[in-house]
Assembly symmetry: C2
């Protein structure tokens, strides 16, 4: 049994991941403003405090991070920095702390999204954040020490989120959260590193 | 004959691009601190001022942007933000201004680098910046109006830069600047959009 920190545990993906991995492992659920453990991952000091409080851990899963959606013609640098600070560097912050704090052989699993490969109108900020996360994981994988691994899950739009995101993803096959959760399981319970698991 | 802004015109790539495209087009050479026109592209206000001064333009090429190279274990968020502010958002700033200021049918050509596909030790910051640039260009390509196009050139280490970067790129085939410059010509003088031209 592994001890697994799930950041964003109360979101649509996080709940599905906790349900899947919670059958076999101890889940430490972390929210931004909810749950027993709280952390704003865009602030690395809060990530450090979280890992210090939780103690020895085998894996961390991040299913959190905001991005701004808007037509390209309306985007400003500040809009791009929303996704850069939160979804991109928030997840990088977790990886930086995890490389020090996880047990030997531990794993880091981050989240990108389909829009970086199948571009959508309004999604240029998502492209930057998601591509950045995937690029980082591929780059970090070859340098992690102590048998640590890092992977990314790139889900399509979730069935459970279609009421909110449906208009951006017309023609996309929505995927159920339980199917997305399997990719996180593959990352945490498998042995690969530097992979992007696409769930489309 | 096109009027082409080359940002980073005094760098190794920029000089080669200016030599190639200058045979057939008017080159407006821009440096950070040198040349007739100067702009720090990490500040969108300076990019706006540049395009206002230069006036009607058909294409912009960016071969500029700093990144931090260091072992993953020594990276801090601030180190990643060096590449994010400069190589990633600097180039995004140019694209945002160019989408308003370029003539109809104009083109934007940005620069990433081989390390995002062939990872190197010390290159996790390059991975973020380069992947972000490529992701952005693919996302922006489907939304650009007025027949505008956007592409990215991903060069291997340049022969002319081996004295500085050689130790990071052992076993890589270095490419001459004149060969890299052809990819920029393909972007500016061709008709594709949303492409990443790999020069390896």
């Amino acid at each position: 049994m592994k001890k697994i920190i799930v950041i964003g545990a109360h979101g649509t993906i996080g709940k599905a991941v906790a349900a899947e991995l919670g059958q076999r492992h101890e889940i430490i659920a972390v929210g931004t403003r909810s749950g027993r453990y709280q952390a704003d991952i865009s602030d690395i000091a809060q990530v450090r405090a979280l890992f210090a409080k939780v103690g020895k851990t085998d894996a961390v899963v991040v299913a959190a991070g905001a991005i701004h959606l808007a037509p390209l013609a309306e985007f400003t640098p500040e809009h791009y920095y929303i996704g850069i600070h939160s979804k991109l560097m928030g997840q990088v912050n977790v990886a930086l702390v995890a490389q020090e704090m996880l047990n030997d052989g531990g794993s880091i699993t981050l989240t990108s999204g389909v829009a970086v490969d199948q571009q959508i109108v309004g999604g240029s900020g998502a492209c930057i954040a998601n591509a950045g996360v995937e690029g980082f994981a591929r780059g970090a994988a070859i340098e992690l020490a102590r048998g640590l691994r890092i992977n990314v899950v790139s889900p399509s739009v979730l069935e459970e989120s279609m009421d909110v995101y449906g208009p951006y993803f017309r023609g996309f096959e929505a995927v159920p959260g339980r199917r997305v959760a399997l990719a996180y399981s593959r990352s945490v319970e498998g042995a690969q590193t530097g992979q992007v698991y696409k769930v489309w």
